[in-house]
Structure formats: C-alpha cells, structure tokens
Amino acid sequence: MAVAGKATFLCADAGTAVCPCFLAETGNCVQCSLLQGEEVCNCRWSGVCIYNEFGWAGEKAQPSREEIKVADWQKNIIGTDSVLFEITVLAELARECQQPGSFVLIKAAEKPSIFYVPMTVMDVSVSPPQLKLAVQSVGPKTLALREATGDLTLKGPYLNGLFGVRYLERLTNRKALLFVRGICQAASVPVAKALVRQGNTCLAVFDPGKTEKVFVADYYDALKIPILEGSLLEAEGRELLRRLLQTEKPDLIFSGGSNEQHEDILRELRGLGLRIPLVVTSDYTICCGEGICGSCQIMTAAGQKVRSCKARLSPDDLWA
C-alpha cells in the first residue's frame, strides 16, 4: 500500500507572520501547488490561502525573521562540552518559542552571519521573557558561541525542529514513552511539558551520552515523570525498549537523538508489528532556516526532495 502521487507537505511556517516567504517568489513554496507552478490548486493547508496572501502582498515575500541583538544573557557550564545559555529577549519572541520543536539561530554578535547555528529552545519563561538553550560544542559555530562574551544576535522562532509533531498535538489522556540521548535532552523538555499539559502519563529513558549527566532532571521531577537510564544504541537499551513496549503499552513514542536512534526504534516497532506514532527530533543540517540555502534538503522515502526546515514531515515520510 502506498500513498499515491506527489505528496504535499504542510509547511511549518504556513499562515505565520513570515508567510508567504521567499520560496513563494522563487516558485518553491512547500505548500502551494499554484506557487510551485502547477495549473490548479491542490493544497492541504486549511488556513488562509497562501496564494491569496501572496497576491495581496503584491507578489512579494513577507520580511523574514529579524536579527535581534541581545546584551542580557548568561551561561552556565553543564558538562565538559555543554553550556546552558539563559537569554533575555522580547516577550513576543518568548511567547512565539513555546511550541515544541521551536529553535532559534544564534551567534556572537561580532561574528559574521555564517556563524549562525540552530539551537533548540529548551525552556521559555514569559515573565521575565527568557529563553534557555543548551549548547553542546562540537564544531566551529558551537565552539565560537561557547566562547562568546559580548552581545549575541539571534533570529527566530523557527518551528520545524520535530517530525511527527501532529501526533504529539493530538495525544490527550494517553501514555507516552520518551527516549532521549545527549544534548537532545533540551528538545525533550517542551515535548514532556506538552504531553503532561495534555493529560498524558509519561515515562522517560535517558542516555546522557557526551553530556555526561541528565541535566534536565529537575524539569522531569517537576512534571512527575519517572526517569530510567539506558542507551538505545546498545543491546541492553534495546531490550529495555522491548520490555517497556510490553509493560507500558505506549500510545506515542518520542525519540530525541540521532537518526540512528530514531531508525532503531522504528525498526523495533515494525519488527513487532506495532504502529505506534513516533515523534522525533530533526537530525538534519540547518543553515539559513528559510528554505533558501538548500543545506536542509533531504529525500523522502518516496524519493521526493523536500526542505526539512519547512516541511512538516512524519517519520513514516522519512523511513519506508
């Protein structure tokens, strides 16, 4: 059984303040078949028509996300390579970053724009308006950010940090399992909060990886989510997964980590003939976040090229 035809994916930015974006001008809108150059409308977006908005805007893109300079921030060491940033921002940006999967692009203000690095929003406080970001230093951008001492600049929010997010949005009063590795602990916090807010019962399995410890334990304690430790990248952890699938019978699984971990879970579920909705963190390269640079472009399981910074994909779209 297969879904036929060229799939149209919902765009994470559809209907937001930045829509229509530059992709509408270039004929690459993720959502709108007319803006892709087709003859007729073949859209799944049930919101204000992007084609219509583009017309009203004089066939021009909305201005993209503004660069914001931040002076009030601090960093705290979490582990050898990991740092927690607490950044004071405008209330509006804090509010807009509350959705699970939100991330910002951030760099030291004195660095050129090629130093912008995508960073998941771990937590938001609205009063005072603040973002918490956990940064693991692995490459030039994250190392430079770690060394920053003066002002920072950031842009956001970007919304497509999770795949399968609609399963998360719909789950109420059910049961969820969370498998979280390394720095993806940060991305798991808004997910866990949303799950609990929607009345779900959760159990989390953490593999601290290179971050060396479960640095989000306080959040999980506050949410009354029990924590187990184990690594899905090892046989023992996969055994734990199998056992929990039996004992917990989850209605949703969240995987925070690499594609390797996501695929391990998917393989396990499929092997057992289970069709449990899976929500995963995006493990793809993000540079501009606007669908322009092309670094996020991936191939779906059906062989379609999509911009993963915009397209609201599900794990089933990614791994056949």
Binding site: M1, A2, V3, A4, G5, C32, S33, L34, E39, V40, C41, N42, C43, R44, W45, S46, G47, V48, C49, I50, Y51, N52, G55, R166, R170
Partner: protein
C-alpha cells in the same frame, strides 16, 4: 456486506450514497464541511425546462427520492422566468435537514467535518482514504463527488479572489481531489475567452435588504425581473458564467431575482455600490457569497476522465458524479449522475455487470454527450445542462424533452429500467 465510501456530500454525493444504500451496500458519506448539499445550500432551481424530464426519468427509474424531497420543500412550483418554464424553487433553508434526516433514516453513515486528504492505493485500486485528522476509511468501491469549485487558490488565480462562498474553504479546508491524489490526470474546463474554469453564476441577496414591492413580488410569484438603468448593462459578464442556460440577453438587461429563501440574483457578481444605484436595491446586501459584490467561486478545474458507467479511467474501483463527471451544471445533473455512480459502485463490488443508461433517455444522453464533447477543445468551453443552452436544444431536437410524465414512464419501461435504482442488488 460490501462497503461503499462516498467522498463529498453535495447533491451528487447524497444521491450516490442513497443509491448505493438502496442497492444493498453499507455506505459511509464523507463531507468536509458541517452541512450536506454543498452548492445545493445556495441553489434551489429544479424542474426548469429539460430538468423536468430528467427528474421524472429518475423517479421512474426508482432514483427520485431526492427530487421528491426537493418538491416537498418547494417555495414556488411551476413558475416561469426568462427562457425557463415550469421551474420549482426549493427552500434552501429547509432542504438540508430534510435530506440529512432522510439519508440517516435509510442507514447512510454520514461523517461531516471529515476532509479527505490522502488515498492509499494497491496498484490501480483504491484501498482506503484518510482524513486530515488521520482517520482511515477502508472500502470496496469509492465514489468521488467532491465537485470542482474552489479552492481559494483557484478562485484567486482564475477569479476575483475568495468571495467567501458556502464552501467556506478557510474554515473547513480546501477541496482535495481524490482522483488527482490517486494519480489521475484531470480535465480542466475553459471559458469562452480561453481562460481556465468558470465563475459560479448566481448569488443571494438578503431579501430583507430589498424594497418592499420587490420582496412582495418575489414572495407572491417566486420571480422579480427588474430592468437595469441604461448604461449599467454588461453583456460581457454572461460569458463568465458556467450556467449558459442563463447567459441570455434578458439576464444582462435586467436583474433577475428568484425566491429560494433568499433572493437569488442571477449574475456571477454585481458590485454593491453599483447595485445600490438600482431603484429598489438601495439597501441591498449579499447573503451568499458574502463578497458577492466582488466575485464568486471558480469551478470546473478538476474533472475526472470517465466512461458512461461513470467509472474513472485509470483506476479500477472509483466512480464519479456531479461536476467531477464533467462540465455539468445544476442540482438535477448532480443527482442523476450521482445516482448512477452510487448504483454502479455496488454493481462493481458485487461483481455484476455495470449499468449504462441508453441514449433514448435524457439522462443517458447527457452522460454520453458530455463525455464525447469534452474530448474536443470547443466542447471544453461549453457547459451542459438539461435546462438550456446546447444540451436543451439537443434534447428538443432528439425529442427527449417532454413534460408528459406518463410518456417518460413509458420511455423508461421501454428501456427496461423501471425501478432499476429501487431494487436491491445484494
């Protein structure tokens, strides 16, 4: 029991669901909005000209339930207006609950606010359809009656933008074509000026916003013909309409109003400031589409290639009715094609020979003639209806048009089709 899934709950989908149910199948009817009947919620004209013949043929074939319901809610019967005789105007407010209750009584499983956005295929067979909310509906045979109007992108590209019509795309989501999702290359209609699509041909004015004398005339006779002041006549607009049966000079020189509950105004759109200059319309306002002063919905951009059984080409278990089945205009046309599509869906599910209506009947002739005409460039620019324009002329030439119900019954009996849609197949 065989399961038939009907996607799209307009007149055609309701007819298909009913026909499939009467033929003995289990039927689920899926509709994206919160009401059945689609454009039928704002239409109202039946039995005018050759539509009378077609309705009576359907009744004689045992597929006339919906016509009887429409007759029962009629505000006016047997009225005339320019170019049209013996029309009935059903009440657009009363008709939807009447049809909904009737379908429920007959055992149709109706799911409103269920917009189908995906289709699962096994080779060239549809296995299931999936709603926007992720619910999957598995069936043996599928009928698509999603129509061709909108969505908003088309209304913007080929019209004057979204006029906020009864489809309410921004609220319930855009129309999704099932056949296109299943990989079928669809057919696109043209306007006379070689542009794609056609603009819906009428709107509704709030009756209370009109002068008392116009209102009284409408209520008493069902019709009001108000001459336009000189200088306000725009015959170009006639070419925009899909309803070529109303593309007559009288409709450009006058405001023709029909009483279907609101005051149906027989023109695609009429700028409000201009309309309010016409005596009696000083306080006029639109009830549907809300921006009827600006434009109207665009239609006929998504028709399925099909045969005379109404089976969609390229797939083994999909049928179509209404506008999906071609450049057909009107409730009557939707109901009769929907009925055949629903009936044949059950025949296919049961492994029985499919039914083709002979060209000795008006219904059989329109199905075949539209298919033939749409194979030509010129034919793609026309619209087809029992009530006027090319097809009504053809009905008269072929002596298919009659209001003699006994003769129509006899015609159906001669073709061995009496009560064919009334008899269970399973």
């Amino acid at each position: 029991m065989k399961k038939i899934i009907v996607v799209g709950g307009g007149w055609s989908g309701c007819a298909a669901a009913l026909a499939a149910r009467k033929a003995g199948a289990e039927v689920t009817l899926l509709e994206k909005t919160d009401m059945l009947l689609g454009a039928g919620l704002v239409g109202g004209i039946i039995r005018n000209n050759g539509r009378f013949t077609a309705a009576e043929e359907a009744i004689a074939m045992g597929g006339g339930d919906l016509f009887k319901l429409a007759d029962a809610t009629a505000r006016h019967v047997n009225i005339s207006f320019p170019g049209h005789n013996h029309a009935s105007l059903y009440d657009i407010v009363k008709i939807e609950p009447a049809v909904r209750n009737y379908l429920l009584e007959k055992g149709v499983d109706i799911r409103c606010e269920t917009r189908i956005t995906d289709v699962s295929l096994d080779d060239d067979r549809i296995v299931a359809v999936t709603s926007e909310d992720g619910e999957t509906f598995v069936g043996d045979v599928f009928v698509e009656t999603t129509g061709t109007s909108g969505p908003m992108g088309n209304c913007r590209k080929y019209g004057n933008g979204c006029a906020m019509c009864i489809q309410r795309c921004p609220a319930f989501g855009p129309r999704v074509s099932l056949a296109a999702k299943a990989g079928v290359k669809e057919v696109i209609g043209r306007r006379l000026d070689d542009f794609y699509g056609a603009m819906s041909g009428s709107g509704k004015l709030n009756k209370d916003s009109l002068a008392p004398d116009i209102r009284a005339e409408l209520e008493a006779t069902g019709v009001a013909v108000v001459p336009l002041p000189p200088g306000m006549v725009d015959k170009k607009k006639l070419a925009m309409k899909p309803c070529q049966q109303y593309a007559l000079d009288e409709f450009a020189e006058n405001i023709v109003l029909l009483d279907t509950g609101h005051a149906k105004i027989m023109t695609p759109f009429f700028p409000l400031a201009k309309l309010r200059k016409v005596p009696g319309f000083e306080q006029a306002r639109y009830a549907d589409p809300y921006a009827g002063g600006r434009g109207n919905s665009i239609r006929f951009l998504a028709m399925s290639p099909r045969d005379d059984y109404l089976q969609v080409k390229g797939l083994t278990n999909l049928f179509c009715g209404g506008e999906k089945a071609g450049l057909l205009v009107g409730h009557t046309e939707a109901i009769v094609t929907g009925t055949l599509a629903g009936h044949n869906a059950v025949r296919l599910a049961a492994g029985q020979e499919l039914l083709k209506l002979p060209r000795t009947t008006a219904v059989g002739e329109i199905i075949a003639f539209v298919r033939e005409s749409m194979a030509t460039e010129a034919g793609l620019k026309l619209k087809y209806t029992f009530s006027g324009s090319v097809f009504f002329e053809r009905m008269r030439e072929m002596e298919l048009y009659t209001t003699d119900t006994a003769a129509i019954k006899e015609r159906i009996a001669q073709a061995d089709l009496s009560d064919i849609f009334g008899r269970p197949l399973l």
